[in-house]
């Protein structure tokens, strides 16, 4: 699914409740994370929920970055799925060139991606971009 398709999906949803239900649904379809990967080294800082992320580059040139992520909170997990729709299996350059904040704003989710350390999502996006910059 591309960013455009996401925006189209969300545009049919009129209430926050419907948006939440779709986000939760997306979270449930996320690729499962190996419990062994849920360690502090893969964990984002956030005091309300726990967020983990791993990154494996492919052998291609340039490589594509494959991310797996998880959270113990369902909305955060769904938001991870939204982020992955755009970032997962893309080249580092594409990731660095993509403005996820603009997408979140368009989806009416901007308040979930604030610099507040509350939900760990912001640090996850920072981590993804750091992976891409390496």
């Amino acid at each position: 699914m591309s960013a455009e398709e996401l925006i189209e999906d969300f545009s049919f949803l009129e209430t926050w409740e419907e948006r939440f239900r779709l986000i939760v649904e997306m979270g449930r379809e996320l690729e499962p994370m190996d419990p062994a990967d849920k360690v502090d080294a893969n964990r984002m800082l956030g005091c309300q929920s726990r967020v983990w992320i791993t990154c494996r580059p492919t052998d291609e040139n340039p490589p594509r970055l494959h991310f797996v992520g998880d959270s113990d909170a369902q909305i955060v997990k769904g938001l991870i799925a939204v982020v992955f729709e755009v970032y997962n299996d893309q080249t580092p350059q594409t990731i660095l060139d993509t403005d996820i904040r603009a997408l979140f704003a368009e989806l009416g989710l901007a308040n979930h991606l604030t610099p507040s350390r509350a939900n760990g999502l912001n640090s996850m996006v920072e981590r993804i971009r750091a992976f891409a910059a390496e």
């Binding site: 926050w16 409740e17 939440f20 005091c47 929920s49 726990r50 955060v76 509350a118």
Partner: protein, 412 residues
Amino acid sequence: MKTTTLDRAAALRADFPILARKIGGRRLVYLDNGATSQKPEPVIRTLDDYYRFHNANVHRGAHTLSEEATTLYEQARLHIARFINAPSDTQVIYTSGTTESINLVANTWGRANLGPGDEVLITEMEHHSNIVPWHILRDQLGFTLRYVPVTDDGLLDEDALDDLLTERTKLFSFIHVSNVLGTVNPAAELTARAHAVGAKVLIDGAQSVPHMPVDVQALDADFLVFSGHKMCGPTGIGVLYGKRELLEAMPPFKGGGEMIRDVKMSGSTWADLPHKFEAGTPPIAQAIGLGAAVEYLTGIGMAWVHEHEQELLAYAYPRLGEIEGLRILGPGPTRRSGLISFILDDVHPHDLAAVLDQAGVAVRAGHHCAQPLHDRFGISASARASFYLYNTPEEVDILCAALEKAQDIFAF
């Protein structure tokens, strides 16, 4: 339920302009008072008036504005002293809040009185602000930090106190009202038991002073600490109350202007209480604002505030208990204050808070700066609804309806 406190609470709401706000088109239901309270008109007006008409630095200038600012600043101290029944306003030290007050005691009284072989006793239900300063100090001074355990029903294990309070105990520092469990600890009794072995007592009143009458002399507290912003006052201002002989013997915390008697090239001597602990330009407007908050609360009556919150608790506790899969942390409704932390089966507290926010309901979600306590109960986070003088039973109903909606959204 009596209608008296409820009618009055409904009327008091008009004093708090922010309560008229809409969140996403819905009325704001503010139930995060344990984190910070909202501010009434008299406090907002006092801050505005101060900056419009009286702003100047205190205790310095020989000009009219400085004298006015100083008078207001010191009058506020008097109001605060009366509010907690301190023997003298010179025993009320302005700090930035509870956290700084505890750090001040740790770094002055603690450094002067603690070393290897000594023990500081805290409890498993402390806020991080009453844990971390002691961790830091212990690592530097080599004393032992011990914890009073918490029982499964969220009370302090008072039987364990017999073994924990010994002649090695130099300080017993405990939370008066738990910010997570709502437990009201028997502060006077705990203080007497600590005094019996010669220990000093610090009471963390962050969640008690805003919500019930607190009398430092009746408690016989050596130190009482609290924050202004949780009791209708501004942020950035709090209080350390201490017994005179302790405060006088304590070295200063921070050095700078205002806190000295004399400064020579060879050394300095300190000003009298309370100024010895108030280096630099203090939070003047905030202190005056806290004075206005204390006057506001005194006008309402702290006994009334307490009674009202107990009525709300008596209404909310069984209502929340009716929700399937909801578990309330802490003791039953008779030994707690007006805050309720809970977990809902299969719904993460963060998810709950996000849904409640959409419904206009503000609650706290997370570990509430009390990780050891959450570890004790084997959970990583909880949600907390905390009441204040302006909350009403209808708001409890809105909370319950929103919780049921959250269950529906997250159900598998």
